[in-house]
């Protein structure tokens, strides 16, 4: 195996795992689900972006943010602003007092497009903003907190407060942001209808491709020395500091990266669901996304995807069948995962399925066990699948 491949996929096992996930997402799901369910899966996958970000941030760097919904939302709003402007051409909106501006602005007696909306007429700008805006906000928050060594619980509570502030702020500025209703009724992307069946298939596959790309990028990051430092940091921060590293720089970097990844997820969400609202930004979605990552196993990139899909599918099915019981199930899941399965699905896989598979393979091949030394040398990489 050459180095780049190793760094993108991890060990052979990681490569197989990635291929297996790709197989499920690219072949199995589209063939077995109708477009409605597939579109739902596409929506869930956008949450998986956030979960992957949390694997980097929480699972590997040991920094728990309860405000990732903010970055998801920022990415989403950047995309939604572009789409809304496209949907608000003067002809469609001729009934308004001021044609050519988004409908909710007109309802709020705004008569000209606010300055910060203007650049979002440009698609390249909007695309860039989806990546840059979450990263910049993450940088400001991260630099302020990590440089002063705020961590652990304090960081969690403060990011949660930020999620509250941002969602209240969006709520309270209806004319600029659409308020509680959010930005709705988005139709086309550069003239291309995002609501058709073909559009939804395309967007689904785009999400899958982006998500796999993000996973590989994350693995590349984690398989570098960066990954080892992050792990080391989450275990013994002082030691890392006294090995000559500026710990806060690394935290800021990974926080920004996770924010950027979440932003991509938000943008893909808007494209597939057709709207964005502050209810995706606040405290509840932010903490739910943490549980997606936890169910998958907070240190496992692939696990994050499975965790997200599993919890959300469960939520959809459960709430269709027993709407009253849904909260019990969700609450129980939180407790179960935290208390009994701290490594989530990935932990189950490592502890039970893998030894069993290994044993089965051995029995099948009737060969002496694999050389221990060789497995060891792969160990650092195997850990990051």
């Amino acid at each position: 195996m050459n180095t780049l491949q190793k760094r993108l996929f991890g060990s052979k096992e990681g490569l197989l795992g990635t291929l297996f996930l790709a197989l499920i997402l690219v072949v199995v799901l589209p063939l077995t689900l109708d477009i409605f369910r597939l579109n739902l899966m596409g929506k869930y996958l956008t949450y998986a972006f956030v979960a992957v970000g949390l694997v980097l941030l929480w699972g590997n760097a040991g920094v728990l943010s309860l405000g990732q919904g903010v970055f998801f939302g920022l990415g989403g709003y950047c995309m939604a602003m572009f789409l809304k402007l496209e949907a608000s051409d003067p002809i469609t909106t001729k009934i308004q007092s001021t044609p050519g501006i988004p409908d909710f602005m007109d309802w709020n007696q705004i008569t000209a497009l606010p300055a910060f909306w203007v650049p979002f007429k440009s698609f390249p700008f909007a695309t860039l903003a989806i990546l840059i805006v979450p990263a910049v906000i993450a940088y400001v928050v991260g630099a302020a907190m990590f440089k002063r060594r705020v961590g652990g619980v304090y960081f969690a509570v403060i990011t949660q407060a930020i999620a509250l502030i941002v969602s209240l702020g969006i709520d309270g500025n209806q004319g600029l942001t659409g308020g509680r209703n959010g930005i709705t009724d988005l139709r086309t992307l550069l003239g291309w209808d995002i609501r058709t069946t073909f559009g939804q298939y395309t967007l689904y596959f785009t999400s899958v491709a982006l998500l796999l790309g993000v996973i590989m990028l994350s693995r590349w990051v984690l398989s570098s020395k960066m990954g080892r430092i992050l792990n080391a940091m989450s275990e013994k921060e002082d030691r890392v500091r006294f090995s000559g590293y500026d710990v806060s720089d690394f935290k800021i970097f990974i926080f920004c990266l996770a924010a950027m990844i979440s932003g991509i997820g938000g943008a893909m969400f808007v494209l597939q669901v057709g709207f964005i609202s502050p209810s995706l930004v606040g405290i509840v979605p932010s903490i739910e996304m943490v549980i997606f990552a936890a169910v998958g196993g907070k240190r496992s990139l692939l696990g994050a995807v499975y965790g997200t899909l599993l919890v959300n599918t469960g939520k959809s099915l459960f709430s269709e069948t027993f709407p009253q019981l849904w909260l019990y199930a969700m609450g129980g899941l939180f407790i179960l995962v935290v208390v009994l399965m701290p490594n989530g699905l990935a932990g189950l896989w490592d502890d039970y399925a893998k030894p069993w598979l290994h044993g089965a393979k051995k029995r099948l091949m009737e060969r002496p066990p694999v050389d221990v030394g060789e497995t060891k040398s792969n160990a650092p990489l195997a850990k990051i699948i």
Partner: protein, 248 residues
């Protein structure tokens, strides 16, 4: 206090107080190039605090710490480390989830910035350094063992090894032989003598037998101040030191 000296480390008038309690009180201490100095003192004398002050873990109230004639006070920890000061903690501080190899690799002083870390490659040079440090610290057979599975003494060695990877000009060791078997202590004494050949070492230790084995010059701290300084024999015969240790 801007005296230019030939000392590697010059501590002058160093004071720190916690809510009025002076843990270190107007301390003056000088360390030569390639010197091995041992600091002893009863509990609460301020030994660990002195190390904390030097390496930036604790902020001093006043005074000065000069390393190679550069003021260290006020610098962030990582910059102090990068200027050439390495520090081992009282309880061995290694990464339990990483292997010995990785522990040493992480300590290699290159790729310390964010982008450096992303693009860092384990070259043959790094491999060789890891090999040689592992041999020096008696860990060559444990390269692929995870830190958690090492014995207490081996963890101490590993942490010393991690410092060696950084090639510091000054190594500060907080109780390096705590929890070691007599045989391990002996090895450690050898190790310190060997590595002190081309760097200065500051050791805090309680074990007098071990101290007498390695020390040329000993500083006795009491209540944040220096009580005595000199060779092991001088200290041994110092009445004040005896009083302090016997609790008079």
């Amino acid at each position: 206090m801007s005296s230019n000296t030939d000392y590697l480390l010059a501590i002058e008038d160093l004071t720190v107080s916690f809510d009025g309690f002076k843990a270190v009180d107007s301390l003056n201490l000088y360390l030569d190039q390639n010197e091995l100095r041992v600091i002893i003192g009863p509990n609460g004398a301020g030994k660990t605090t002195v190390l904390d002050l030097i390496c930036g873990k604790t902020r001093a109230t006043s005074g000065s710490v000069k390393f190679k004639n550069r003021e260290m006070l006020g610098m962030p920890e990582h910059s102090i480390v990068r200027s050439g000061i390495g520090r081992k903690f009282q309880t061995p501080s290694i990464y339990e989830n990483l292997t010995v190899y990785e522990n040493l690799e992480v300590s290699f002083p290159r790729g310390r910035g964010v982008f450096g870390a992303l693009t860092f490659k384990t070259t043959t040079e790094v491999e060789q350094r890891i090999q040689s440090v592992a041999e020096t610290t008696f860990l060559q057979d444990y390269l692929h063992t995870e830190g958690a599975f090492l014995s207490h003494g081996q963890k101490q060695w590993l942490e010393i090894g991690m410092l060696l990877m950084q090639e510091p000009e000054l190594m500060m060791l907080d109780e390096p032989v705590a929890g070691m078997s007599p045989a391990e202590r002996e090895q450690t004494a050898e190790l310190l003598k060997r590595i002190s050949a081309d760097r200065s070492i500051l050791v805090i230790e309680h074990d007098m037998e071990f101290v007498s084995r390695i020390a040329k010059k000993v500083t006795v701290l009491h209540l944040g101040k220096i009580l005595a300084e000199g060779s092991m024999d001088e200290i041994h015969n110092n009445q004040m030191v005896q009083d302090v240790y016997l609790g008079h």
